[in-house]
Subunit: 415 residues, 2 copies
């Protein structure tokens, strides 16, 4: 297969179109900065004015077996349950129970877009800036959107002005492995591909925040060609998880280019925006990043300056559909792709389907790390991958519910 | 009095020297970027090689009346107690009890500098990036430094290669008020000045993260001249807490210049590094910032590009003496001042004294928000402000201890 390169993206050449990614603009001066700035503060929701009020009677955090659930109940008798990122919630739950539950209780879920801004300033909550805070907000936001959708009989996509057509969304299967041998990893990738049917795979490079140390030594330089050899027709992505400095990232990136990989994620420490841009400028392969980012200002700079080619806000870590939607719109204004990052936790794999159904520039494949332990159901999709695609739910709201028996067996956190 | 201006800083003119701040370099090209990069990763501690091992037997988090204490005990019978920022710890304590206490238990406190790096990578703790994580680390770091100092009979400053001479450190008194009338605020400032004897005061402007809205309307434009009139000889600082956009920050900054204020803190949203630089470039008055920052890469960019004139890492929010010391060294390499931010919580007012005793570029006045509720004692200082100065403790370690009766009455968190 022909790999898409940064140069293709920058000049909008054929290979990029073939790979389904949007072509990019050709440098900072020609970036439509005003449109990007506008998108950063855009009003995202389109809710019917005659919607019922949805006063929140209770805002609860429940847990079972290390997973977490957020349950909202309205005074007019609606109830919904969503699932946040459990790994972050395990450390951050006092933010939810002490700060956010009291703030949102008694408020109108239909005003979620402005309430999120208000919550950030309330009692200096902005000092809790970080993934943990935004994971709590994302779970509350998704639940509010579900309530709005059900109360107005509209699927999620319509609340964002898009059409919910129950389309099948392509996924890529992301391996979580490091530390094994390249040969073992190829076996693992075969099983991932077989389970999901995915025609795109993502591998992990380097040692994770490791200042160039590999895990184990020399795994990466053997893995890159071996995986290509084993999967000659597959779209391959690679994630360094902040493993390298700029020169080593360039060396590894060249190897990825040689073997036709389609993007290179988080090559250098994630908060080094400038080093990331330097890597992106040096390489042909598209550079991806944004998983650990939670600042709209920093995403704006990243997009305006093409510091990555593909932005990856995490739908949970960055605070949900509204905030990630603004990033997608900023990316669209710069003719860039925005494919959300997603961990395997909660109901994230469904969230990325919804996001892709809303934003045309969400890229050819959405991240998939398995179905997770929470039993979910939808009225319009079986939520199972088939031939590398999962059908996006298209009923009112999120149209995905947690098994009521599972919810019943979960207990309040910190209660 | 003559106010120090950004231009004075940039050209190193007399007024800056008179105000006790270091003059700055004159633009990006002439910045000693290599020295800044080196400082960002500098080894800070100078510990005698023949020090005893300080294996941590227990790492505990205790609480009483909304305050928090961290207690470390070593296998060879040493014990120390420090106090973190209580407001952040109230939401972030599971990070301490679930992640950091198990990590540090059994480790050698004498290796704190490398352990901090290791802890950040351990079990993906970096995903908890934010003030909450670093507040936990800062408390553990300070306690480890105290253990090292006491085990080697060296005051804190000596562990950083400086001399502990028990000097008296000048403080500025920072008002926490907003929402009152300018006349009420002047009365409050008079009482702050009388209590501390401080010859420098800081007021708050705008509405705090308020997109130009004042609190109450027109307070700021009346407050700025009124405070100058009431305190004609006092060094005055002003903190906007992210209240403005760039044009409004310029307007307010001009007013501060007109009335001889000495710095303008956090003019625009704190994560808008680029807007902050734009404000600093437009104004003559020195712009200060860094309280909410916890990324070394972002401080490095800020210093390399003179995005502020005065960097203010928070000794707790940024993770303690070692990390803030690297920022101070980066600032020194750029001939800039680094005055740590400090909330009123914990034993922060003592921490800033120590920091000032280590770093010659820490500025003329350290932040002081009162003594706080935790009863503290030192063998070499009464820890009380007199004529606007407090004596820095100079005995072994931090040379500051929490009243044992107070510690006894605190209970384990989450236990």
């Amino acid at each position: 297969m022909e790999a898409m390169t940064r140069r293709d993206l920058l000049i909008g050449a054929g290979a990029a179109a073939a790979a389904g990614l949007m072509p990019g603009a050709s440098g900072q001066a020609s970036q439509p900065d005003a449109a990007i700035a506008q998108a950063a503060e855009a009003t995202m929701l389109q809710i019917p004015e005659n919607r019922p009020r949805l006063i929140l009677e209770s805002v609860e955090l429940l847990t079972r077996d290390g997973e977490y659930l957020v349950r909202l109940r309205t005074k007019n008798g609606l109830e919904t349950v969503t699932a946040p990122n459990g790994m972050r919630m395990a450390d951050g739950w006092p933010i939810f129970t002490r700060r956010l539950a009291p703030f949102f209780t008694g408020r109108d879920a239909g005003e979620i877009e402005s309430l999120m801004d208000e919550a950030y300033r309330h009692q200096s909550n902005y000092k809790l800036q970080g993934l943990t805070y935004w994971v709590c907000i994302a779970a509350i936001e998704a639940a509010c959107l579900d309530l709005i959708g059900r109360a107005t009989a509209r699927p999620l996509a319509e609340l964002f002005g898009a059409k919910a057509d129950g389309r099948w969304i392509s996924v890529y299967a992301a391996s979580g492995n490091r530390g094994n041998s390249p040969e073992e990893e190829v076996q693992h990738l075969r099983s991932l591909a077989a389970e999901s049917g995915a025609s795109a795979l993502k591998i992990r490079l380097g040692g994770r925040m490791s200042r160039n140390a590999d895990s184990p030594p020399d795994r990466t330089v053997r893995l890159i060609p071996l995986v290509r050899e084993a999967f000659p027709e597959t779209v391959l992505y690679a994630d360094a998880n902040s493993s390298y400095d700029v020169p080593e990232a360039e060396r590894i990136g060249r190897m990825l280019e040689e073997h036709g990989y389609a993007f290179f994620e988080e090559p250098v420490p994630f908060d080094d925006l400038w080093g990331t841009k330097e890597v992106a400028d040096r390489l042909e392969i598209p550079v991806a990043g944004g998983e650990q980012e939670f600042s709209m200002h920093r995403f704006r700079w990243t997009i305006e300056n093409r510091a990555v080619d593909l932005v990856q806000p995490d739908l949970h870590y960055f605070g949900g559909f509204i905030r990630c939607g603004r990033v997608a719109r900023m990316a669209a204004a710069a003719q860039m792709t925005c494919t959300p990052h997603m961990s395997g936790s909660g109901m994230g794999f469904v969230d990325v389907l919804h996001f892709a159904s809303i934003h045309p520039n969400s890229g050819p494949h959405q991240e998939f790390k398995g179905l997770g332990p929470i039993p979910l159901a939808s009225t319009t999709s079986d939520l199972r991958p088939r031939d590398g695609r999962i059908q996006c739910p298209s009923g009112p709201g999120l149209d995905v519910s947690v098994d009521p028996e599972y919810v019943k067996s979960a207990v309040p956190v910190g209660g």
